[in-house]
Amino acid sequence: MSLAHEMAFASPNITAVAVEATEFPDLARKYHVSGVPKTVVNDEVEILGALPEDAFVEQALTAARP
């Protein structure tokens, strides 16, 4: 989680939300969360599990491409 929060803090265009999956089963269902952590960026990109910084940032920012 901390990595996404660090990214939000560093970029004025990024918001990062930690979602407690068991409290919001509708969101967990909507995004097909079957394991945690699972990161969803702009409903477009999904990242499963915890990744090293470079790989996580790389995958997350594919959602930023025009």
Binding site: A8, F9, T15, V17, A18, V19, V57, A64
Partner: protein, 149 residues
């Protein structure tokens, strides 16, 4: 009743000495249909006694819709972290860090981490990452699903 042990309180008090500016934990709540809002408030109330730089502010999601919309918040409990910045004329700045759901268990550690970041701790991201982030022009919302354990 205190949720944190005296040892944990002391560890947090020590960690919060790093805070160089005031951090506002804005708590979006609602009275009906929120099973974990009371628990969330109890957890948040543990923090201000540990540092004079920490403030909890409550926003009612139903009664203060405009304020919630301003932060893009539409569910409770949500915590948004803001911080006071001397450069912005007393207007708190939004860290764009959010927590949806009670920050219990492992998420409490994430909350402490985020508070320290908003409070002025040096970001941990590498220079390569910061360069990539500086090039982001499209608004991105990252939702990270977690569980309490």
């Amino acid at each position: 009743m205190a949720l944190l042990s005296p040892a944990d309180q002391q560890a947090l008090r020590d960690a919060f000495l790093q805070l160089s500016r005031r951090v506002r934990l804005v708590f979006f709540t609602q009275t009906i249909g929120c099973d974990t809002c009371v628990q969330t408030r109890e957890i948040l109330d543990e923090l201000p006694p540990l540092s004079d730089k920490l403030v909890v502010e409550e926003v009612n999601l139903v009664l203060e819709k405009d304020k919630a919309a301003q932060f893009g918040v539409d569910r409770a409990p949500t915590i948004a972290l803001l911080y006071d910045d001397p450069d912005s004329n007393g207007e708190p700045k939004d860290s764009r860090i959010r927590f949806l759901g009670a920050p219990a268990g492992y998420e409490f550690a994430s909350l402490v981490h985020a508070v320290l970041l908003a409070g002025g701790r040096t970001p941990m991201l590498g220079p390569g990452t910061l360069e990539k982030l500086a090039a982001v022009e499209k608004p991105l919302t990252m939702q990270v699903f977690t569980t309490p354990t």
